[in-house]
């Protein structure tokens, strides 16, 4: 247990959008879903990944020299990474002079994570904050997550899990005693669309949500508003229906933003979503949707500010 390691890609202190108060968010790597709008693309794969920021590259080509696989070649300006050949060893990142390369994914022990989490204890206490485990999908590393949660609770630190709900119920159930509240994504109430845009149906997710609410856990459902993908005006009722049938009381509406666009480029992936217009549109729909839910008696916040 002591030697257990898990894989994370970031720990963010002074995080104020992922639950109550001032929190530290621990991002676990790896996710079984693949939502087209994912704003943490570096979280999706469980494997470490190399990111490349072209504008920082000094064209020294040391990375190409150390790459055993020959996955890096000189381009007209900077480099090109052949992602298929890359075995994610990270040697290139170590030698990068311009800090253009970085690696997402680091294996850490529970103690290492807790040491960082503990640093902001005074801020949690003064703000009603704590730690949030996010991802990726935190339940994708169930043993590690459980160990982290246990460690936090034994230190009387408030805990939250930010989950897609796409996990075996038993895995979620085991963590219940150690979680103060859940941030639970509802990416789409329609199974067909969910299947198309997230890479899996929503049956398990809805079932787990119901079980979670029934268990008496505090659940805040987060609904991303991605116009054209999971959300049209005519979907207001559909979402409400699910929320009401499950018995959810708190909803956080998350309008689409395009800040992730650069991250896709970093990973050499294509970003298929429209941006400017969608952002505007999403904000509009989200505001209307929030008002609609409020009228139906829900407690609603927009954009993670609660």
């Amino acid at each position: 247990m002591q030697a257990m390691k898990g894989r994370i890609f970031r720990i963010q202190r002074f995080s104020i959008h992922d639950g109550y108060g001032i929190r530290t968010t621990v991002f676990l790597k790896g996710c079984p879903l693949h939502c087209v709008w994912c704003h943490n693309p570096e979280s999706q794969s469980f494997e470490p990944e190399v990111g490349y920021k072209a504008e920082k590259c000094l064209s020294c080509y040391k990375c190409a020299e150390v790459c055993d696989k020959g996955a890096i070649v000189a381009a007209e300006k900077g480099i090109e990474i052949n992602r298929e050949m890359c075995d994610r060893c990270g040697k290139c990142v170590e030698v990068c002079s311009g800090r253009a390369l970085e690696i997402f994914g680091k294996d850490v022990s529970v103690e290492e994570v807790i040491a960082i989490v503990e640093k902001d204890r005074v801020f949690y206490e003064n703000s009603g904050g704590g730690v949030t485990f996010s991802g990726g999908e935190p339940y994708f590393q169930p043993e590690f997550l459980l160990a982290l949660l246990r460690a936090c609770k034994s230190r009387r630190i408030n805990t939250a899990v930010d989950t897609s709900g796409y996990a075996r119920w038993e895995v979620i159930e085991r963590t219940l005693p150690f979680v103060d509240f859940f941030l639970y994504d509802l990416k789409d109430y329609r199974d067909d669309r969910h299947r198309r845009t997230c890479g899996a149906g929503n049956e398990t997710i809805l079932l787990n949500l119901r079980k979670l609410v029934d268990s008496g856990a505090e659940v805040i459902v987060r609904i991303p508003v991605i116009p054209g993908y999971n959300f049209e005006h005519e979907d207001f009722e559909g979402y409400l229906g699910v929320l009401e049938s499950v018995g959810v009381e708190r909803v956080d509406v998350l309008p689409y933003h395009s800040l992730a666009r650069d991250k896709y480029r970093l990973l050499g992936r294509e970003y298929i979503l429209e941006t400017t217009e969608m952002v505007e549109n999403a904000r509009k729909i989200a505001t209307e949707f929030a008002a609609f839910l409020e009228k139906s008696g829900m407690k609603v916040s927009v954009g993670g500010y609660f």
């Binding site: 202190r13 108060g21 311009g98 005074v122 003064n126």
Partner: protein, 775 residues
């Protein structure tokens, strides 16, 4: 339009250069040659207060202009005022902080005023006493000595003055003169002191009477009955104060303002502060409220009027000073909230009201400093957080427990320590009985590191201002060198300050100010000669985190196999062709991220500094007191400092106060606060500035809650000071493009507020970078 809008509009003109004070002062000084200097100063002040043109502006309840036809700048030719003389043509045209100059005035300045002062300024007196130090000073790279301009930087003991009134000083001076004469004393320090005290007391009483007469005159011509009544009331008040003790809230504030504006004719316009204003005005407010003489609305108007008046004056900085003190602020601080002399919470209704006034006005001045402690009421903290979160950046917070500890360590008595006030931007001092020259000098600590690496030499300019030290091979040797270089620089600064202290006592005694600080009048000794109970000289460290980060980075680079020689060489060449080493350096642990590997070095550097500073004695019989804040010298010094092992490139700004180096705080605000809490504040009795930049975007609707939590945490962790900058980078960039549309945009720079568009371009850029990297 309500009264407050009118009052604000009164000041919405471009500021002018006012020579009236300089002329009256010079005339009098010319006629009093050969007399004791303190008497000459008293007579000169009397000449100004009795003859300077005065106005009552539209809708004013509190009268007394700091200069004729405000807003504008007053010239102090005896200090550094005449540096402007070569820039009279460019002042109205320069990019920031323009000043209108009347052509005729320019002629008078050039032909009448300047020639007289050429050999009579504080600088002219001091230069022959320390040509070596002056030549270092003039490079602007290692330190700045501000007492060339005068001293100022003091909180006025208004409660002491208001318990007496100036008639008391007048009569008591006469009594003491008589007493001395009866004992056969007709000369000497005490004797001339009381003569001077008598003259300035009479002068300030007459100053009040002039306003009473003016108010009556205007009242006669005023049709509007309400305003007529107001003017007659003003006349009645000015006949009474500051001669007599004030009895009502309105009288008390008017008393304060007449003294404040008179002091600005004697002492140059930096950091003449008002002390614990919510505490000493409260009895007047309480009594008036109870007896129905005033309501909250009226009190609000009177206070707003006072706040607005402080904006009448701007400093006449020349282009050189602009680099080091950009932002055109006069740093008239006032202190609200906090504990009483027994350490019990003393927040009162006025504390809340003054916070409201500050929030409504959002002006550059005054600097509003809020004392907070563990006993501060929860609802006051909420109010405070609301005001800050809404973007009111004119407020700074001070942690009582920590400030008191630092003052106690300098031998300040318990009750005086608990009764501390703020002065200027972040300085702290016992209220009412201290003269701390709190901004006497600023030192570029990073320069000591540059010298330490290069055998005492300045890499950029080839100066050999440091002491000769061996080329270091190890980190320990470098640290040892650094200590020697720093001690050497501090020695120069201490010597310089002491000579300037002497020069001020000789050239620029300040008899009116001496009535305003406790024990001077009792002792019959001018405040510049050590008449106050507590005498400190505050000198500030600039760039401590850059040095701390450099040491941490060197530790890393040495581990990685580089030699000290290679690191030094890389800094000399500004890391050109050495990107790999630069990467190691810049990625080393940095102060501001709650990382002990870096924080321990910044703490250590500041402790070296404080120990070295605090052990020295000053001219007025007190000690030097370490501070850590930069004004904007971090930009000016940075411009003249070579690349550092922290990875900071040549010419880039240094870190401000105990805030992290620009862009090096990567863990967010909690990390910054945690790092700053590791500083040993008990050794920084002159104050240390910590700026927390938060983006409005990021805070969203959680702003109040988050800021309140940050304040409480900073208190719990033992930070000394914190100021919030709530802003958006895109707003700042827009403001840079279209300055005329963003004249209102107030930002905290480092311990003080300035209008963003009036800051110099490098400072603006610095702030934008600071904000942007958080988003």
């Amino acid at each position: 339009m309500d009264r407050i809008e009118t009052l604000v509009r009164n000041l919405a003109k471009p500021p002018r250069l006012s020579i009236e004070r300089a002329k009256l002062y010079t005339d009098s000084m010319r006629n009093s040659e050969g007399e004791p200097m303190i008497l000459r100063q008293a007579k000169a002040l009397k000449n100004i207060l009795e003859n300077i043109p005065i106005q009552i502006l539209d809708d004013e309840l509190i009268v007394g202009t700091m200069l004729p036809n405000p807003p504008g700048a007053i010239l102090f030719p005896e200090g550094v005022g005449l540096r402007l003389i070569n820039e009279l043509d460019t002042l109205p045209k320069r990019e920031t902080n323009r000043l209108l100059v009347d052509e005729e005035d320019a002629g008078v300045l050039r032909e009448e005023i300047a020639p007289y002062w050429q050999k009579r300024t504080i600088e002219a007196f001091s230069f022959p006493l320390m040509p070596d130090i002056m030549s270092v000073l003039y490079t602007g790279s290692v330190f700045v000595l501000t007492e060339l301009a005068g001293i100022s930087h003091v909180a006025i003991n208004y409660p002491y003055l208001m318990r007496r009134g100036f008639r008391w000083f007048l009569e008591e001076s006469e009594r003491r003169i008589k007493e001395l004469e009866e004992n056969g004393v007709y000369e000497g320090e005490e004797y001339v002191f009381y003569h001077a005290a008598r003259i300035v007391s009479e002068a300030i009483i007459n100053y009040g009477l002039r306003y009473a007469e003016l108010a009556e005159r205007i009242a006669e011509e005023t049709e509007n009955e309400t305003r007529k009544d107001e003017l007659l009331k003003i006349a009645e008040i000015c006949r009474k104060v500051p001669a007599e003790k004030p009895e009502s809230f309105w009288e008390a504030v008017q008393f304060l303002w007449l003294v404040q504006s008179a002091l600005h004719q004697e002492n140059y316009e930096q950091a003449i502060s008002m002390g614990r204003i919510d505490q000493y005005l409260y009895p007047y407010y309480y009594r008036d409220l109870k007896e129905g003489r005033i309501d909250k609305h009226k009190a609000f108007e009177i206070l707003a009027n006072l706040w607005i008046k402080t904006n009448e004056i701007v400093p006449p900085f020349d282009s050189l000073l602009e680099q080091f003190f950009s932002g055109q602020t006069t740093n008239q601080a006032l202190t609200i909230g906090g504990c009483d002399i027994y350490g019990r919470d003393a927040t009162n209704e006025l504390t809340y009201l003054m916070l409201e006034v500050t929030n409504r006005l959002r002006l550059r001045q005054p600097n509003v400093h809020v004392r907070v402690s563990k006993g501060t009421p929860e609802d006051f903290l909420v109010k405070l957080a609301e005001v800050i979160a809404s973007g009111c950046n004119a407020i700074a917070l001070f942690n009582d427990e920590v400030a008191v500890e630092a003052l106690r360590a300098m031998g300040v008595r318990d009750e005086d320590a608990w009764n501390y006030t703020t002065v200027g931007c972040v300085e702290i001092a016992p209220f009412g009985n201290s003269f701390t020259s709190s901004d006497a000098a600023l030192i570029n600590v990073a320069k000591a590191l540059e010298y330490a690496m290069n055998e005492g030499k300045d890499v950029q300019f080839g100066h050999e201002f440091g002491v000769k030290t061996e080329k270091p091979k190890t980190l320990e040797e470098l640290i040892e060198n650094f200590r020697k270089q720093l001690a050497h620089i501090i020695k120069l600064v201490v010597k310089g300050c002491n000579i300037l202290g002497y020069a001020n006592a000789e050239i620029k005694p300040t008899p009116l100010l001496s009535l305003c600080i406790e024990d001077c009048f009792e002792e019959g000794r001018d405040v510049t000669r050590g008449g106050a109970r507590y005498n400190f000289t505050g000198i500030q460290a600039v760039g401590v985190a850059d040095v701390g980060d450099s040491l941490a980075a060197i530790e890393r680079a040495l581990e990685a196999g580089y030699t000290m020689d290679e690191i030094i060489e890389a800094c000399k060449t500004n890391f050109v062709d050495n990107e790999e080493l630069h990467r190691i350096l810049i990625e080393s642990p940095k102060y501001g991220n709650d990382d002990d590997r870096a924080d321990k070095y910044t703490r250590m550097v500041l402790e070296f500094y404080c120990d070295e500073v605090n052990r020295h004695r000053n001219f007025r019989g007190g000690y030097f007191a370490a501070g850590c804040y930069p004004m904007t010298t971090n930009v000016g010094f940075g411009f003249l400092t070579s690349a550092l092992p922290s990875g900071r490139r040549s010419g880039e700004p240094l870190n401000p106060g105990v805030s992290p180096s620009t862009g090096m705080d990567r863990e967010g605000t909690t990390g910054v606060i945690k790092s700053a809490s590791k500083i040993n504040y008990a050794k920084i009795p002159n104050g240390a500035s910590l700026t927390l930049n938060l983006s409005e975007d990021v805070l969203g609707s959680k702003g109040v809650e988050i800021i309140k939590a940050l304040i409480k945490s900073a208190l719990d962790l033992g930070c000394m000071h914190a100021q919030f900058n709530i802003l958006k980078a895109d707003v700042l960039k827009k403001a840079q493009e279209e300055p005329e549309k963003y004249r209102w945009l107030l930002v905290r720079v480092a311990g003080w507020s300035a209008y963003f568009v009036e800051l110099s371009k490098p400072v603006q850029d610095e702030i934008i970078r600071r904000v942007s990297c958080k988003l």
